[in-house]
């Protein structure tokens, strides 16, 4: 099987949201001596295409979630074959919905789009206290902490996260981004967050920019 055929197979399996198929195709890529870095790039490009389709209402959230699972399965296999220092990482993101807020959909969409864009994403769920965001950021060595709030009454919890990071003197180590239906760019600025994404696509752009700045790119 040629390199092109393997890439086609990887792409087709991801487009079918086939977790096992993508994983198997990734293993085949390694067995055939294909560059795992190139194969990861094929998967990332395909994932971006799916993200665009989602934005155009051509595929839907469950499909995007299945694609994220397939992508993660494939990338995990390929990454294991890449020497640690050569593994490209867009960055590590700890993401969650703030304390008192059970909404998960927006946060899940952003997590999926970040994964599709090459970020390592640690989803810490919903109803998450500021201290838990901080603990997770430390535990996973996060570059970015992303906090979602879907209600006007839970929005103040985003400020609480910024305050907590400042109060515990870890603020400078992390970039904090916020989002959710009632959140605006002005509000993000007002509470001292580093970024705001009006939607999932914007959130990825903001995360990319922040990582670039952090690494002085």
């Amino acid at each position: 099987m040629s390199k092109e055929e393997i890439f086609r197979k990887l792409r087709a399996n991801l487009l079918n949201y086939d977790q096992q198929g993508t994983e198997k195709a990734a293993k085949e890529a390694i067995d055939k001596g294909v560059s795992p870095l190139e194969a990861v790039n094929v998967l990332s490009e395909t994932a971006r295409e799916l993200g665009d389709k989602f934005g155009r209402f051509e595929i839907f959230l469950p499909e995007l979630m299945m694609a994220a699972d397939a992508l993660t399965a494939g990338v995990n296999v390929l990454r294991a074959a890449i020497p640690e220092k050569e593994i490209p990482k867009a960055g590590i993101v700890v993401i969650g919905t703030v304390k008192g807020d059970m909404h998960s959909i927006g946060k899940n969409i952003v997590a999926t789009m970040l994964t599709a864009s090459g970020f390592y994403v640690q989803d810490i769920g919903e109803d998450v206290a500021a201290s838990t965001f901080a603990d997770a950021a430390e535990k996973y060595g996060a570059d970015i902490v992303a906090a979602s709030a879907l209600m006007t009454t839970s929005m103040p919890m985003q400020k609480e996260i910024v305050d907590y990071f400042e109060g515990t003197e870890i603020r400078e180590r992390y970039r904090i981004i916020v989002g959710g239906a009632p959140v605006t760019g002005e509000y993000a600025q007002e509470i001292g967050a580093d970024g705001y994404g009006a939607d999932a696509v914007k959130a990825v752009e903001v995360a990319m920019n922040l990582i670039g700045k952090k690494e002085g790119k």
């Binding site: 839907f60 979630m65 009454t153």
Partner: protein, 463 residues
């Protein structure tokens, strides 16, 4: 027949039902079955007919929603167990619906009845800030602007943003302080309008503890008020909501619930959203035994704000409600989260489209939450006044006629709401005289202009 006795039986299923991971519930149980049902019943989104006239479609959507509930059930996220329902339980639940309820006290009582398709009886109109954050400066005045409206029958509560300068955070003690003050603002406004028995509709933003603590005839919600019980999207509940439901039933107040299909979210397409909305309405009817219910398909795709007056949401709202109107005795109430803000033509046009179609498919009206209820003080009594007037003017309208009018109104704003930058509108204090609590000349002119547009589309206003 009362289904109240069944409640604990249903709740116990959250302790004994099959265990499943939340992600598997969505991706392996809900989503594949939803896709099958769309195909099986051949449900198709039809932007040319946002107000449905095809009764076969309504029956198919109802059957598909029933099948979805039977085959998928509800997930209790606290136990990761599925609450399943039997077909006979759905039938019993629907049979036990009283089809009518009364809210409020004394001369200010409001009687709600199940409405039929193209019903000639006027709809009731629930109007209020609808969850919009309110400032301490204008809270009472804003409620007064609703209490002064003759066509507003029930006040839908807003949410104070701060109390004595302290931001209200969910779960903090300031939340209960805020809710007490919120209710006091509304009651004061009602007394000033001479309508002290008028019912309140408490929204669901406060935490469970606040909802329970604010059940008090002396200082909080009365038994004759309505409280809300929201499921989690999609087909999910948690302990807090089940506890709320049990508390409201024991306290004896009326409750309101919903079936919501989020376009672009887990149900995906408009077809998936209507089936999901119907399934959730059926499931929440069994779990909560509400006095009233709303089915709606909210759209997250076009704007930073959720809206429901774009053509896709209108189709979803009208089809899901029509399916339930035709096949049940539910008291259905259709709300309006508008993309645009107060004192704009777009906002009033969005309200008109929702009201005309909603009334034609048998719903009562409620709202309005301009800018999706997210901007401080962006709400006034003028929006439900318009909704009430349009609702009365449209009462008895044939669905075919409603469909044509709705499409023509929608044409005027569809591109605007899709622009991701709908007109923000004005704050209460910018479009009302805050001393006399009357709308500004500018807002009155906008109101008259849009009303004339509707008259040109053959809608006959009564007032």
């Amino acid at each position: 027949m009362s289904m109240i006795a069944r409640r604990w039986d249903f709740f116990r299923r959250a302790e004994t039902g099959p265990i499943i991971k939340e992600k598997d519930f969505i991706l392996r149980r809900y989503w594949p079955r939803l896709k099958e049902l769309i195909r099986e019943y051949d449900i198709r989104y039809d932007p040319e007919n946002p107000v449905p006239t095809d009764d076969t479609l309504l029956d198919d959507v109802f059957k598909a929603g029933t099948d979805l509930l039977l085959d998928v059930g509800f997930l209790c996220i606290d136990t990761s167990r599925i609450i399943t329902f039997e077909e006979h339980e759905i039938k019993e639940g629907l049979m036990s619906l009283p089809g009518e309820t009364t809210l409020g006290e004394g001369k200010d009582c409001v009687h709600f009845q199940h409405r039929e398709l193209e019903d000639k009886r006027f709809p009731r109109n629930i109007g209020g800030p609808t969850g919009t954050p309110l400032s301490e400066e204008y809270g009472t005045k804003i409620y007064q602007s609703y209490a002064n409206e003759p066509l507003v029958d029930v006040i839908y509560m807003g949410a104070p943003k701060s109390v004595e300068g302290c931001t209200v955070k969910i779960g903090s003690p300031f939340e209960i302080q805020a809710e007490m003050i919120n209710i006091a603002w509304a009651r004061t406004a009602l007394r000033m309008a001479g309508r002290s028995g008028m019912p309140l509709y408490g929204c669901c933003f406060p935490s469970l503890a606040v909802d329970i603590a604010s059940s008090s005839p002396e200082y909080g919600y009365r038994k004759t008020d309505m409280r809300c019980l929201w499921p989690l999207p999609q087909m999910k509940v948690n302990y807090a909501t089940l506890t709320r439901a049990a508390h409201f039933a024991e306290y004896g107040c009326r409750s309101f619930t919903a079936g919501e299909g989020y376009l672009g979210g887990l149900p995906g397409s408009p077809e998936g959203a209507v089936i999901t909305a119907v399934a959730e309405c059926l499931g929440t009817t069994l779990l909560f035994q509400p006095s009233a219910i709303q089915a709606h398909t909210l759209n997250n795709m076009y704007s930073p704000w959720t809206g429901e007056a774009d053509i896709m949401s209108l189709w979803g709202d009208f089809v899901s409600n029509a399916a339930l109107t035709k096949n049940t005795r539910m008291i259905l109430i259709l709300g309006a989260y508008t993309y645009a803000g107060p004192c704009t033509e777009t906002c009033l046009r969005e309200i008109a489209a929702e009201a005309i179609g909603g009334v034609a498919v048998g719903t009562h009206t409620y709202g309005i939450a301009p800018n999706s209820g997210l901007i401080l003080d962006h709400c006034t009594g003028m929006e439900p006044r318009f909704r009430g007037e349009v609702g009365h003017a449209a009462t008895g309208i044939k669905r075919e006629d409603a469909n044509e009018i709705v499409k023509k109104i929608n044409e005027k704003y569809e591109e605007i709401v899709r622009s991701r930058n709908p007109p923000r509108g004005k704050r209460f204090a910018e479009c009302y005289d805050t001393e006399t609590v009357t709308p500004s000349k500018e807002y009155q002119e906008i109101y008259k202009r849009v009303k004339r547009e509707l008259e040109d589309l053959s809608l006959k206003f009564i007032y």
